[in-house]
Amino acid sequence: MPENPQPTAADSGAGAPDDVARVEAVMAEPVSRGEPILSVRNLVKHFPLTQGIVFRRQVGAVRAVDGVSFDLHQGETLGIVGESGCGKSTVAKLLMNLERPTAGEVLYKGEDITRLSGRALKAVRRNIQMVFQDPYTSLNPRMTVGDIIGEPFDIHPDVAPRGDRRRKVQELLDVVGLNPEYINRYPHQFSGGQRQRIGIARGLALNPEIIICDEPVSALDVSVQAQVINLMEKLQDEFNLSYMFIAHDLSVVRHISDRVAVMYLGKVVEVGTDQEIYEHPTHPYTQALLSAVPVPDPSGRDQRERIVLTGDVPSPANPPSGCRFRTRCWKAEERCAAEIPLLAVPERFKDSDTPAAHESACHFAEEKDVVHA
């Protein structure tokens, strides 16, 4: 049965007034240097599996996200990569409060936003916006571009006074590189890339600090992907935005990200700067992923060692014990089935100053340069 993640009018009443005041105070504060703007702690989301039509009972749970933690700093881009079904999009939905997490917290400037509802939540959402994956379903086909981009102003009337909205919308169109005269057109009159620009313009409407991008370019042609990515980078500099960039295309993520987190089956297996992850991966799954990246240069393609994983991703309803990657890992030993590896800087690199000294959830982490090999 589908849940209704949107808080109803009924539950927004409880304890709202002081919540709202506190959240608004938090909102106004600038982030101090070095403090993360958004930090995620042990985020867990289990979707119940039920059986029976009249008498429902829970027979298990899909562990879509199972204990994910990371930080996002101001002006930074955090890339999240992983194959389909590893929980990337669920993380995005949890951050946006479109789903309620089973456990864990999402701290925005120190305020846990998963517990908010009603007006306090509305205030937070002004600062965290999202760019969606599919520009063909993320724009209401019955609304003009002006209505779509201006909708946030309708909901938050304090951002733009009524008479000013049209001009603001045109400014936004201009910012994302569209002709401001397109304001009265309908979404179906635009190409995919243009639609995604409209989606970005709507995301920018409320002057957010964080934009969560859930595969923003994967539905676009490669040539258009580059334009959209460059636009996003330009906007980041212009408005000092923090991005959380979810994608499965490793080269796109490398291009835009400052730091990268690799996810596998609901867990983060490795986090580091793009240099650390791409040049010095220590987790075997990251190495396997990277070795699958196509290389444009045909010479030397044959000599390149490719790590080919066997088998499928295990079901998140029944994940393997210990390390979740052990069923497909060539290094797996008994210890991997018994002990869950923690996401930490591996023991052997701890005191060294090499780029390999970044967090990796593997008992047998070792450096392996798969990109150049």
């Binding site: 969606f132 209401n140 019955r142 909901i155």
Partner: protein, 303 residues
Amino acid sequence: MWRRFRRDRTGMVCAGVVLFFFALGLLAPVISRLYGKDPYTLYGQDRPGLLNEYGYPIKPNGGIDGEFWFGIEPILGRDVLTQLLYGIRTSLLIALAVTVATVVTAIVLGVAAGYLGGRTDYLIGRTIDLLLAFPAQLFFIAFLPVVVALFVDPQDETPTYVRVLALIAVQWFLGWMGLARILRAQVLSLREREFIEAAKLSGASPWRIIHKELLPNLVTPILVQATLMLPNFVTAEAGLSFLGVGMVEPTPDWGRMFAIGAKVYQNDLTYMFFPGVAMVVFIVAFNLLGDSIRDAFDPRTTR
């Protein structure tokens, strides 16, 4: 929207025809005043020389002449034109009321079932299944007298408005399920689209999402279904009157004219002609109008 619709010639013609019929119904008293006849006077019996001894018009073609433009009714001898005008008035009034009631019910229940899901959906869904299992025509015939008897003692004479309300209530009761189901399904698929999520993210309330994001996307099915439903209700009401459970004499009624026409068609075919042609023209025009409105509402069709 309006500009797109105006470019559609079929649509404009049909809109004209439909409006013409509604105008006829609305202005029936005015027209009959100008024309100088009313649908209740038994001209044929009052004045000799109009009906023969068997009760059929003496003049050819159902008694059409300069005075009775559409002829006169056999046996009772009423004027056909005013009878038809008032009949259209009664039938359209009832059909319109049923359509409005049905569409409103279907929107409320269908959207609620689709958007809220869970128990609400289950409850509304099973109710729809249950009501769809009723044989509609039989139900109407069996229950109209029952509904009327609820309000009026069977010994007394039934006031006309009670009959009208009973007709509306019975057709509404078994009329809303189809549209509600369609809307529920539409909302289910729309609800998962990303633009709904996007609206939630900007902080839109559920009410705003329903009326700003969902309803504009439901206009097409609602309009198409409503324009298909209205002529359906006109024919259903006509059918009920034909069967003798709808409006009764002396209230003029479109459907009952067919009942009389069916009795006398072997000797006076003309009596069936005008109500029949009027109904065919009205229903065809209304259905085509529905198509045109749908095209005009959908920004993706090119015209």
